[in-house]
Symmetry: C2
Subunit: 240 residues, 2 copies
């Protein structure tokens, strides 16, 4: 079954996601792998700017990309951008293929893999935090969500994300986001969510003494699961 | 200008190429990056098997992918698979957009970046070697080409490529291909070409005491160069 990747937000995060889909696929030779179509449109207006009232609505760009992927035969669409999920409900109404929910998948993963955790530290764009995407999903699962203070968010987290988007995945970006993570640890977080697809590019499995959950990897595993379990219905079956 | 990537051969090599295109793009924010469409079809029949008379011709799959990329608006197509280049002349006749030549770009790069080298060691699939792709391009540039002996080719090089295609990019694969490189060094090679897109995933900038030229990176730079220099002609200009 062909996987569609609605990407480019940013490009490096899309390449990271595609690599994680490949790594999550049980395959011994090329021909075992999933067919993948990537629509990487970096001209999609800044999602976080739109959510904080400083930029145009990216929905039309996302709808266009989802349409292209559907037309190319994608049977499931993954969107490796957390902030873009604030706009996906509307995009979903414009296509017939299912679009995976990275936020819901991550909340489910935290619940099953970290049952001892009661408070989650959220590292994400200001847009994702303002839209309350993770808060709704995690609080519905009985978890408390801790977000960085305004200064940490504006300088450390946003600064690290900007660096990665500019191609800098060096230790300076990692240190910035680790600083924000330390604040969340002090305030009771039992794990950190790298809730912006740029952040796993500079964070490993642990930061600030806490385990880091990588939603890009969670979405990659969900994508492979869907692609391998949803049976491909041949076109000819429609006439039966 | 939208870049089309005709990929999936194998998937890991395509992800590596996409990452190298991003790294080669001068960009400070998402919106500076090139729009990219990837058609990654891992079901394309084995290119090397076709060239050694052991499998079906992959050309129809490549033509289908190139058509899809053209229909999506790609204005230049890059094919990050050296062996697939043996079939590209026919694919080119079926699309109007230019398809870059990774082999010719690599020969030109070797000539300009390593003018002192007179003999090139070729690490590639058996199909690429049998088809003579690099030999023709490099000998036309006045360079001698050294290829591994049958045993080295069949065990070390093919073995390393198979490992990467199965997802294993560990040191064992690197050691295998380094062994073949040592043989080429002894036989006079002044540099090594990692002439199969799986090989740069396990080789660094040097191996067996020789500099390694990475055609995936060469193709990525050529792709960015073409995408940034070929002026986008607006549709409306057609009526002027």
């Amino acid at each position: 079954m062909t996987v569609g990747i609605l990407g480019g937000m940013g490009p490096l995060a899309t390449a990271d996601f595609y690599r994680k889909v490949i790594d999550a696929t049980p395959a011994g030779v090329d021909q075992d792998h999933l067919p993948v179509v990537v629509w990487a449109d970096p001209t999609v207006p800044d999602r976080s700017a739109a959510l904080t009232g400083h930029g145009p609505d990216p929905t039309p760009w996302l709808v266009r990309g989802a349409h292209r992927l559907e037309a190319l035969g994608a049977r499931v669409i993954a969107t490796p951008c957390n902030t873009a999920h604030a706009f996906l409900d509307e995009v979903r109404t414009s296509v017939r293929v299912p679009m995976l929910d990275m936020i819901a998948e991550t909340a489910a993963e935290i619940r099953s893999a970290h049952p001892e955790v009661t408070a989650v530290g959220l590292l994400a764009t200001t847009g994702t935090i303002r839209a309350g995407l993770y808060q709704r999903a995690l609080e519905a699962a009985g978890l408390r969500v801790v977000v960085p203070g305004e200064l940490s968010q504006g300088e450390a987290v946003t600064g690290a994300i900007r660096r990665v988007k500019a191609g800098d995945t060096g230790p300076a970006a990692a240190r910035l986001v680790e600083r924000a993570g330390e604040e969340l640890a002090v305030r009771g977080a039992g794990l950190l969510v790298a809730g912006c697809t740029e952040l796993p590019l500079v964070l490993g499995g642990r930061s600030a003494g806490l385990p880091v959950v990588d939603p890009t990897a969670v979405l990659a595993r969900a994508t492979v699961r869907e692609a391998l379990t949803v049976r491909e219905v041949p076109v000819a079956a429609g006439v039966l």
